[in-house]
């Protein structure tokens, strides 16, 4: 049976081309790799190579033929032992249907998930965070810095695969002293100072995670992680999917995020919205020390890459932390940090600071704000947000990041899609201003959200003054 040589497609978009020239004649013996013909497309002239060996039995499409459809038989190749008579009865035929359609599996006829299905989900209940700390648990005052350190130390004690790497994490005891004491307890094998080389050590961390370790990669600030964002997004986040679930990268990228104080535009950016955009990542941004501890422990145990956004100003702030052997906080669950009936304020990280202060002042004026701490930005606990909005009918969002495509923008969009009929006012976003962070003290203050802006936004959606 002679083999048909088909008109090839030389690019994903090619449907037809010109058969310009034959480089072989009928009767020629060819072996794989030999150039058989030249074809021309609008882009280039390219060669058709033989894949099998044999004798060119018959040329079906002559040279200099325009508009030859892809997959049209252009020649017949005789196998060893066949003679020319085998080609009789074959003639140039129309191109067969594209193989994709021919072999279309039944699966293709199954309905694809429609966009609407994705959006309209079952109404979920608000998450009740009160069960995270059993009643009567002893509490201690602890800074966010210490809570983070304790979380790492506890996980490192429990799991040999966990290690910390980053700039100044070991001998210097951490640029912001978050890793203080870890070198003493765990040694240089597990607490590793890196050179200033974010792209490189982020990639090394991901490779180590592929291979079975549980790295904690500290960035001195997330501003520097932009050097490494390719490894975070392309290598860490996408590999589970691209491998059909075979590979995983259980890694935590952590460090301070957002504005500190007077460090200028290149050291003051919030990346919550950037990472939250990426499927395959978990994005966490704690506010309190207890959440910082419980969430970091969960992040280290999580089989996915987790971007853990801390805040330099919060490092030194003290909160109650439960005295428990193994205190964890689930990822992907928001917390009602302050209950209220009149308006919902949704925030995370440093934004919680403005939000809680504003709620306090608003209460004095008789407005009861419900403040929701997202804690995890992706996956976002919209059930808790929506349950609150259905109750208060009003919502504002508070974040330090820029307004366009921000976390608040996403929340506003989802509320519009899922709770439109419950709204008594448009959702308002309080955010950082749409500028690179200025250095001057007064301008920096103006560029960040403020308690007053949160109060003003609440008054606007509650139509009070």
């Amino acid at each position: 049976m002679p083999t048909e040589i088909l008109m090839p497609a030389l690019s994903p978009t090619m449907t037809e081309g010109k058969l310009a020239r034959w480089m072989v004649s009928e009767g020629d013996t060819v072996s794989s790799g030999d150039v058989l013909a030249e074809i021309e497309t609008d882009k280039a002239t390219m060669e058709v190579e033989a894949v099998d060996e044999g004798v060119v039995g018959k040329i079906l499409i002559q040279a200099d033929t325009d508009n030859v459809a892809v997959n049209t038989p252009i020649a017949l190749l005789l196998e060893e032992g066949e003679d020319a008579s085998a080609v009789e009865g074959f003639s140039a035929s129309a191109a067969p249907a594209a193989p994709q359609t021919e072999s279309a599996p039944e699966a293709a006829s199954a309905p694809a998930p429609a966009a609407a299905e994705v959006i309209i989900e079952a109404r979920g209940d608000a998450y009740d965070a009160s069960g995270e700390i059993p009643a009567g648990t002893e509490m201690v005052k602890m800074s966010v810095r210490e809570a983070l350190r304790d979380a790492m130390a506890e996980e490192m004690r429990g799991d040999e695969r966990v290690f910390v790497m980053g700039e100044e994490v070991a001998e210097y005891q951490g640029a912001y002293k978050v890793t203080q004491g870890l070198l003493d307890e765990f040694g240089a094998r597990r607490v590793i100072d890196t050179p200033i080389t974010e792209h490189g050590f982020a990639g090394i961390g991901v490779g180590a995670a592929f291979h079975g370790l549980r790295p904690i990669v500290e960035f001195m600030t997330f501003n520097f992680a932009m050097q490494a964002i390719d490894q975070i997004v392309n290598s860490a986040a996408k590999t589970r999917y691209m491998s059909g679930g075979q590979m995983e990268s259980p890694i935590v990228f952590r460090g301070p995020n957002g504005a500190a104080s007077r460090v200028g535009a290149q050291h003051s950016q919030c990346y919550a919205a950037w990472y939250a955009h990426v499927p395959g990542l978990i994005v966490v941004a704690p506010y309190s020390a207890a959440d910082a501890k419980g969430l970091l422990k969960s992040a280290i145990r999580n089989p996915n890459p987790v971007v853990f956004l801390e805040n330099e100003i919060l490092y030194g702030q003290t909160f109650d932390v439960p005295v428990l052997d193994d205190f964890t906080v689930p990822l992907g669950k928001a917390k009602v940090a302050r209950p209220g009936e009149d308006v919902t304020i949704v925030s995370f990280g440093m934004g919680m600071s403005y939000s809680l202060q504003a709620a306090e002042k608003l209460a004095e004026e008789g407005i009861q704000a419900e403040v929701i701490d997202l804690r995890t930005i992706r996956p976002m606990d919209m059930d808790t947000v929506l349950a609150s909005v259905r109750k208060t009918n009003r919502c504002i969002t508070v974040e330090e990041g820029w307004p366009q495509h921000g976390v608040g923008s996403e929340i506003a969009a989802q509320i519009m899609e899922k709770a439109f009929d419950y709204l008594d006012a448009p959702v308002i976003r309080v955010s950082g201003k749409d500028v690179p962070m200025p250095y001057a003290a007064n301008l920096e203050k103006l560029a960040l959200p403020s308690v007053k802006e949160v109060i003003d936004a609440v008054k606007s959606v509650t139509y009070t003054s």
């Binding site: 497609a9 794989s32 790799g33 997959n71 080389t197 090394i204 490779g207 180590a208 291979h211 691209m242």
Partner: protein
Amino acid sequence: MAPKATTTGTTTRKRRTPAKIDKEQVQKYYRDMLLIRRFEEKAGQIYGMGLIGGFCHLYIGQEAVVVGMQSTITPDDAVITSYRDHGHMLACGMDPKGVMAELTGREGGYSKGKGGSMHMFSKEKNFYGGHGIVGACVPLGTGLAFSQKYQGTNNITLCYMGDGTVNQGQVYESFNMAELWNLPVVYVIENNEYAMGTSVKRASAQTELYRRGESFNVPGEQVDGMDVFAVAEAGRKAVEWVRSGKGPYILEMKTYRYRGHSMSDPAKYRSKEEVNKKRAESDPIERVRERLLNDKVYTEDELKEIDREVKAIVAEAVEFAQESPEPHPDELMTDIVA
């Protein structure tokens, strides 16, 4: 014996085919290289039929590099490479059916059809991809070696990259840390002379790529990458160096790809004569074939039998890759997070 490399220096020896050859080993070289060649030719052909989409980077011409190198490691060692990866997967012992079915985007592919040509993995075979971002596999491979050392294993990593990769900054960040921390990784630079359409000369201020580790005290060596024996010999010594705890090693394999960068490459950046000359004079498979025949290790008929076997494997892979169904639509939203 460890290669003659000092901590600062590099040796540049073109290795020669050894006088004595191990029959079984040579048969494996021949068979493995031929499998890659036939597989890639077939992939090129069915790409032309529209069965494979997107980008498809063929390894034809470079077979000796991966086949020679893989013969120097154990199944427990790790392998990682960039996007021209079909040859590496086959040389790692991955099933040609699963690789071809991934190329056709089918459920039976190594990544269930969700990865494609550049993104395939096999935990079982210690193949860690398949990475589409040029340069990314180098820190990742260094991380595999980090883990091997951290876990106290005696395993090593082969981290393949192309001549285009070596101009990415993260490569040097990796060289630095690998040497600093004595990580067990062999960096195999497959210098096929062109990064897409840009020749090494037009892209690299230092064209002797084996010397790219000098600033970090990583020894390097240049090897005739068209000679599987030379590759294996250099590979064995580099692997031994690395496994013995001396830190990373660089091998620059001088090789050549016959086909374009990807399927839709009009190849205007090099002459047909150049390609033909390489094929005629230094084809890695022909070289082994001639050697086998001259030394009367095999007869023409015995080699034909190997050819037939290889063809049958490839034919079976293509059949599987066409019959395996497309992934179910439900697969769209799975394997994102665990």
